[in-house]
Each structure stands twice: as C-alpha cells, then as structure tokens.
C-alpha cells in the first residue's frame, strides 16, 4: 500500500480576524488549506465593544465572535484547534508541526496575533487573578465598589477605564508618560468622568497584597507613593506571538514578523498578517485587510510556482 501524504496549498496559523479573513478567501478560492489555532477568535474575544469596524455599527466582542463564527460556517471553514510548535522548511515547501498533527504545504500564512505585555514588577505574577488582571471585561465586574488602578495610556487602558466607570468606586489611571495616547473619543469620555484620577509620569514599582491585591506602589517625580486599591488592571500594550517562528523568518526588534506592504516575509512562500506582523496598529480592520492581502499574495505565489 502506498501512503499518500496530502499536500496543502496553504496552512493558515491563527484564528483571529487576520487568519479568519485569509481562511474565508482561501475557501472561496477553493484552495487546499487548513486553518489551525489554539482558539477561535483573537483579540476581539476580549473586546468590550467594537465601534469602528466598517459595516458594523456596534457589537460586543462576544457578538462579534458569534458573527465571525456564522460567517465561517457559511464559507465552510472549520478551524482546527491545535497549537503550532514549529514550521520547518522542506526545500521550497514547508512542514507545519502542531501538538496533534503535521501538515506539508507549499505556503504558510502566519496570523498568530499578540499577547498582553506584562509590567514585570514584584507582586504581579503572585497576584495574577487575585486582583491583577489583563482582561477588564472578564474580571472587572468583581471590582464592584472598590478602588482600582488601571495601568497604561493607550486604547485598551482607556477602554478598561470606560468599562469600569459604573463598577468601581474610584479609578486611578496610572500613566508612565505625560500624555494619553488612546482615541480622542475615549479621552473625552474619561475626562468627563469624576471617578477618574489620572496620574502622569507614574511608574508602577510593585503590586501589594497578601492573598488578594491591596495596593499599588509607584514612583512619581522621584517619590515613592502608594494607592490602596483592590484591583490592578494592566493594559500596557502587547507583544507579538511569534516565538515558534524565531529563526524561520526575520523579526523586528520587538519580535514582530517583518513584512513588506504585500505581507511577504523574508522567506518566499511565508506570509504574515495582523498583530504579529511589523507595521501593526492593533486595529481589527487592518488585520482583516492584511489577512486578505496575505491570502491573495499566497495564491499568486502558488500560481507562479506552477507556471
């Protein structure tokens, strides 16, 4: 008996907006492909509300996920829940190795997104899920009636403050720099909120607590200060989820996969899209666009291989 190994046109890694968009296009192009991911839904899973996606007036992260799920079913896309360990080059082709299987493929689209950045201060790890959280919409309701600190100055931090405005008693927004960075409409909401106190030039130095969080230490203008809070919400940005691809494709200094404006990486046949790629702005609509671009360019790459 001859064992016939299936060879794919492309393997899409990641099922956030970028990966799912690529998969939808791959399905409609009738390509031989699989989409593999540790879970369904990426960053939008933990989004409080989506207000800037074209064609969608307003949706919660959960509603958005449900729409994406229906859209994948409509296009007969089935996401395989597997964790990619490694991608190896096999001549001009590739082998994608997961915790459950191996896939031989002519091209790869990496859309693995990003993970929350940690503060790396004493107390942070010990008190994780004990008052320290990286998901305000998940754990935020548990801070009802408490004073809390939100660390960060970008969109995610400002969204966390907005989400907590009807839950917490007092919200300290702890910002390392001297200005807010998030969308202007979020800044407006925050400035109108009497519960919010913004601490500029404040560097978190420690999270305090015996069992559960009881305080937040920070340094401001050379002076050590302390806030008595029951929760610390950390939203200081994201780091790309590109560990399995180190040594395979070129990364930038922050670990993003370097791409050109057509989603090509440093390796012909490997494409990248969304938050894991350089040039990211952590916007859903950019991820969707790049997912589409990566797939179309992969299809052109495959056509050139045949000709």
């Amino acid at each position: 008996m001859v064992l016939v190994m299936k060879e794919y046109d492309t393997i899409i890694i990641g099922a956030g907006i970028a990966g799912l968009t690529a998969a939808m296009y791959a399905a409609r192009k009738r390509m031989r492909f699989e989409i593999v991911s540790t879970d369904f839904g990426g960053q939008f899973m933990v989004s409080g509300e989506v207000l800037n996606y074209p064609g969608l007036v307003k949706a919660s992260g959960i509603e958005f996920r449900s729409i994406m799920q229906k859209q994948m079913e409509f296009n007969k896309v089935n996401v395989l829940i597997e964790t990619v360990r490694e991608v190896r080059r096999r001549g001009a082709d590739f082998k994608v190795m997961t915790d459950k299987s191996e896939y031989d493929t002519k091209s790869v689209i990496i859309a693995t997104g990003s993970l929350p950045r940690k503060l790396n201060v004493p107390g942070e790890e010990r008190l994780d899920k004990k008052g320290v959280t990286y998901c305000s919409i998940c754990d935020g309701p548990l801070f009802a009636g408490m004073d809390v600190a939100v660390v960060g100055s970008g969109n995610a931090a400002l969204e966390a403050v907005d989400f907590l405005k009807d839950i917490a008693s007092k919200i300290y927004l702890v910002i390392r720099g001297d200005r807010l960075k998030g969308h202007e409409y979020l800044q407006e909401r925050l400035k109108e909120n009497p519960k919010v106190e913004i601490l500029f030039n404040a560097q978190t130095t420690e999270i305090l607590g015996d069992g559960l969080v009881s305080g937040h230490k920070y340094k401001q203008n050379g002076e050590e200060k302390k806030l008595d809070v029951g929760g610390v919400i950390i939203e200081i940005g994201r780091i790309p989820n590109t560990e399995p691809f180190k040594g395979l494709v070129e990364l930038d200094e922050d670990g993003h996969i370097k791409i050109d404006c057509q989603c090509h990486t440093s390796v012909p046949g490997i494409f990248a899209a969304g938050d894991c790629a350089s040039g990211h702005e952590y916007q859903y609509v950019i991820s969707a666009g790049q997912g589409c671009m990566a797939l179309i360019k992969a299809a052109k790459y495959l056509a050139n291989l045949k000709s």
Partner: protein, 78 residues
C-alpha cells in the same frame, strides 16, 4: 442543585465559551453571575482565593479559567 457550578460575569467571553462547552457536552450546571450577586462573588473568592472568572466547580473542585482538558477530566468523575 447541579453538581457543576459556573461562576461567571455576563461580559466575560471565556465564561460564554465554558457554558457553550458544557451545553455541547449536555452537562447541567448552575450559572452564577458574580457581577450581580456579590455574596456569590465573595463565596467564589473564599473557595478558590482567586478573583478571575470563569471558575468552574465540579464535585467540589474549582477550575479557574476555560481549561478544557481539566474540565473534561473532572467531568469524567461526575
């Protein structure tokens, strides 16, 4: 009363996934909204020492987060 309890908040996406998963497995459970029920929130934190959701109690054992293999393992002992 069910042998399985899910402590959740309405806005938590992972809580939705846990409940979806239990429904698929035809497992009956009590859904406890710790955002609305502060006594239940205190009870949850008292049991696990943790403030994150979801928390799933199966046969008195608490699993924090949507940890599918751990939930499946505990469900086998139901």
């Amino acid at each position: 009363m069910s042998k399985v309890k899910v402590y959740s908040t309405p806005t938590c996406p992972y809580c939705h996934l846990v409940k979806e998963f239990l429904h698929q497995k035809h497992v009956e459970f009590d859904d406890i909204d710790v955002a609305a029920d502060h006594d239940a929130a205190r009870e949850m934190i008292g049991k696990s020492g943790q403030m994150g959701v979801p928390q799933i109690e199966i046969n008195g054992k608490i699993i924090v987060g949507f940890d599918k293999p751990a939930i499946e393992k505990e469900l086998e002992n139901l």
